[in-house]
Every structure is written in C-alpha cells, then in structure tokens.
Symmetry: C2
Subunit: 377 residues, 2 copies
Amino acid sequence: MATMPYDAVRTPTMLLNPAVCRNNIRRMAEKARAHDLIFRPHFKTHQSRVVGRMFRDAGVERITVSSLRMAAYFADDGWKDITVAFPVNLREIDAINALAARVRLQLLVESADTVRRLCEGLRHDLDVYVKIDAGYGRTGIAHDNRTAIDAVCEEIARCPRLRLHGLLAHAGDSYHAATPEEVRNVFERTRAGLTAVAAALRPRHPELIVSVGDTPGCTLAEDFTGVDEIRPGNFVFYDVMQLELGACAAEDIAVVLAAPVVAVHPARGEFVIYGGGVHLSKEQHGRAGGETHFGRVVLLTDEGWSPPLPDTHIVRLSQEHGVVRSTPEIIDLLHPGALVGILPVHSCLAAACMRGYLMLDGSEADHCAGQPYTTQS
Amino acid sequence: MATMPYDAVRTPTMLLNPAVCRNNIRRMAEKARAHDLIFRPHFKTHQSRVVGRMFRDAGVERITVSSLRMAAYFADDGWKDITVAFPVNLREIDAINALAARVRLQLLVESADTVRRLCEGLRHDLDVYVKIDAGYGRTGIAHDNRTAIDAVCEEIARCPRLRLHGLLAHAGDSYHAATPEEVRNVFERTRAGLTAVAAALRPRHPELIVSVGDTPGCTLAEDFTGVDEIRPGNFVFYDVMQLELGACAAEDIAVVLAAPVVAVHPARGEFVIYGGGVHLSKEQHGRAGGETHFGRVVLLTDEGWSPPLPDTHIVRLSQEHGVVRSTPEIIDLLHPGALVGILPVHSCLAAACMRGYLMLDGSEADHCAGQPYTTQS
C-alpha cells in the first residue's frame, strides 16, 4: 500500500485521486464512443495540464475551455483544437488573434453585431459556433428566434475569416434539477431545441454540428439522436451536487479538500476547520428538508478517503473557517491538528479557489490560474 | 483630470480607488484615536502591501491577518507586530517558529490542549490572545464558561514561551444584522461579554487587553468602554453588504470589478457580463423583498464610477458569467465589448478571488495569494 502524503499537508490542500479521475474519464469517453459522439471535454473544471494529459491518454484530442487564458495554457501543453465556450469578449481581440495563429480555434457568437466587430479585428481564420439558448436563459439566441439565428449565420457567411462550425447549447439548469428524471427532461428539451434549429439550417450548412454540454445530462441521458458532440467537464471530479442529484456515486468523486481541524466544540455538536470560502467557494447545496450546506466530510484513509460521514456537514462558512455540525461519535475522534477531508459542493469552483492539487501519490499538479498548492492558505 | 486606465482592461479586473481607500483608513484611525483604542486593522480584506502602506502612512504599526502566509508576506514588507486572528493550526508549527523569530507575533488559542501542544513545539517566545465566543458561535470559549477560560489561562502561565496578551472576540453576526441598531446591539453584547471576563481575570492578569473586531460594529458603535483594541478590516474597501446594512455610503466603496459586457438581451431585460463566481465569489445578499443578488452595477466614469444604477443587479452567477437584470434605459446604453463596474457583495472574498488590483492611476497592486491582476481570467 502506498504511503499517503497527508503528513505534508499544513494548510487547506486539494487532494486529487488520479485513479478515480482516470476512471471517470474512461467511462465518459466510452459513452461518447458508444453513441458515436465527438468528445470535447470541458477543461474549466480541473484547469490543469496534469489532468489534461489523462484525457490525452484516453484518446481525447479536442477540448473546451472557458477563457482565452485557459486556451493559451493548454495550447502551451500541446493541445491543437480548442473551443472557448464563452461568448466572444471583443476586448480580447489580440489574444484571439494570437491563439488563432497557433491552434484550431472555435469561438461562440450570438449576435450579428458581435460577428461584424469580431470580423473587423481578425487577422487569422477561425471557426464559430452559434450559441443557442434552448431554455436555460443565460446566453445564446432563443432557439425559436429563427430570424436572429439566420441574421448571425448570414453575418458569419459575409466574413472571409469565419466559418460556421456548429450550434452549441449549455443546459446549465440541469445542475438545479432534483432528480435524474428532471435532468433527462432538461437534456431532452435542449436536444430537441437544438436539433430542430440544425435541421432548418442544414440545407445551406450541411457541415454544421450540434454540440451539447453539462455533466448531469451527458451522464444520465441515453438518447443523443441528432447530437454530434458533447462537452461535459465536471464529471472528471464530480462533487456533492452531482452526488445528491444522482449523477455519480460517492466513490466517483475525485477531489477532497484536506482541512486541518482547529477547534472542537462537543457541547455545540460542532467542530471548526481551517477551510473557508476562499478554499471551497461559497457554493451551497440544499438538502432534502430545506437546510443548505457547504460541503460533506470524509475521513482520510490509507487508501484515499472514507464515504461521506453520516449527519456531518459544513453548516457555516466564513473567509477561512468552516463550522461542521456532526455526531458525538465523530467529534470524539477529532482534535485540533487532525485532518479531515471535505467533499466540495461544486468542484469546479473549489478547484478555481485552490489553484493546485496534491495527488495521492505525493506529486503536485498545477492549475492554469495559480501557483502550486503549497502556497495557498 | 487624470486619464482612467479602462482601455487596458481586457478581462475582469478589480479596480481600486486609492483616494476612497485612504479616506476610509483616515476615518477609522481617527475614530480609534478619539476613543483611545489601539488600531490593529485586519489586512485579510485587501491582502496587498500597497494598501498596507496606506495604513502605514496613517500611522498604523500593528496589524491583524488571518493566515501565517499572510503574516509572512506583510513581515517581508516591514511589518513588525502581527496578530494571526485564526485559531492556532498546530500543523503549521514550523511557520509559527519562523515568524516568531522575526516579528512580534500574537496567536489565538481556545483550548488548554492546544496550548500544551503549541508549547511543546515552540522555539521562540510569543503572545497569545484567548479567543472568546461572546455569542457568535463560531470559535472561542463561551464567555460564561469561566472554568474553561481559567484552564486555558493556567496552561498559558505554565508555558515559559507564552504570554497572555489579551481576550479577543469577533462578532461576525453583525454582518447578518438588518439595521444599524441591530449592529450596535451585537457590538454591545460582545463588549459586555468580553469586558466581564476581563474584569474577572485582571486581578491575576493586569496587563490583559480586550480586542474586538468587525467593520459594522467598529463603524457604527459609539460606546467602547472597557475595549482596548479594534481590528476591523472590511472598512478599507466596504461593499454592498455594508452599504445595504447602513455601515457606509455608496461613495465609500473603494473597489469595483470592471467587467466586459458579452451579451445584451433587451427582450429579457438582461445583459451578460464576463464576471462570475471565480471573480466575485458566490456571496449573495438578500434585498428587502426577499430576492437575493450577487452584486450591484455602476458605470465607469472619468472620475471613477457612478453611484449604483437603479434596479440593476446580478441575478444569476455561474463560473465566469454574470446575468444582470436591468432597465430598458440602461440596457440601451450597452453593447458587447463595453465595460461596466460591479460593486461586490463581499469585497474580502471578491479580492481573494481576483488577487490583484488595477489602481485608478494605472499602477498595479499585488495580493499576497496571487499574481498581478492582468493574469486573472
């Protein structure tokens, strides 16, 4: 049995179990293959070249990111086909040109005006997806607004440097679903909306692909008719939100925040960890019964970590503190200086807070926005 | 009129108005002087040596931080008297010793067991505060648990390297107060609890000081009888939470996130900014009427920024996107590529997300956990 690197942990540290990670990647890659889908995973969850290489080992060549900086970081690590799944930020035209010069780049557009202004600044060719709002209501052209969709497509056609690559939607509301059935309904609504638009456009744009994202949908859906590409991201780590939604099992969660215990209050039924909003983000999750929490708790073990402890949740979270409500039996095991593990509510945001990982084999993995894990406290 | 550096902004960027900052510092320093209080401001809000020097210019010599790393960063910039206002993390004994060797260091303890184990590892002298829970219920010994308080004090007395410096409480519940009157009540409860403990201990510990924190209390309270030291932090920037609580005016807020507009949806009454949970944190604030929001919006001007726009709030926040609900008049002013400013709900957390500032004079200020502002996206 390998020695776990817990003794090296001084301050809150994001632990990553690479075996779980690779398993999550393998399963989603197999699902994409089984449904004949392009697998373009979203790297905004992990933002690490080390995790990126696990995807490469699984045969992935195309990726999704959410910023140009992230795209540049992964381009530096040899990725050649990158979608920035965020509406074009016209203030970054220089970064767009620099990137388009060295990788196959796809951007998202949703208005004719943006296409026109993007085109004016471009010095290299690139592909665009038209962002469609299939009901989520964040960004994109409403799927039934065919006039606006046609106007964008015509503006793209007028620009010699742009090529229409596909239609793209993100069904972010699947994260707020309460059951797998609700997730499948959201996915189906998105699929139906997007494929209807694609069918209308295909006579003039036969090459157009349909791209959908979101981990709950890609994990739980089985009908991908008319879909060409999936872009899930969170599944590489999963988290408490996905667990409580039924999109993963507890043993599929690949990251925990190792957090030192700094105070134990048996009379209150609580203990306090070094681990707060700057480490986990303030993302909260509603439990059945109405109370919300900021993370579930595990014990670190010689193999990794335990299943989530019963009746044990972070109930309050300040900048650096987390207050955990727990049972007398568990509180009795703890003392200041001990370590516990926190399963994050939302692993993407917690990883973005921590900006670096300690792998269970003792190696470190960096994060494109940050510094090695050891400096975060 | 100076030229504002907005043209340099490509991605979400934390703007800092140094004149507002210096004014906030001056007022709090004056209040401390008027009440004959030691002013030991909490630097966890700004975490920047540049802002730290503004405090030094105002005569401040003693500071509070919330991690040993932050303490080391400010020690490197010449600060010599530093309180780490976080329960001792026994896993960081090496960092504690390294710091105690070079500055006058105060730590927080709240159990005899922790004091004993801290003492075993110490190689340098240091001072401790006993953390008292005066009703907030996060960390500290309950103010009416005199047995536990006495036990900690006796354990401190047994350790040759430790000296009892004072009693410390943080009334974090003042942040959740709805009115200035409630803030004053929380402050008064804390003051009364702490000074009663101090009175009981003073016969044996005549040097003991009483230290209280929290920006709302220190801003709004007028009766500091029995208090020796204040440690507010947030007031250097203030934020929407403080504004809506009545602890500051809109023109006292010293930071805004400059955020590019990436999509405009007049039919929905919304626009979308590049600026999400990784930039602002997911801290939310309840408005009168029950709806919560993630930030208020200003227009950037030649002097800095406008007052908060009416009926304009971030109503949804994902990893990188913010969806702003606004009025037709305001939406009509905007287009993709424009910049707006976001007044953060909680400036401490937003600053910890952004880790760097662009000052209105065009210079940059670093953050102890991060990199210059330009690399954050």
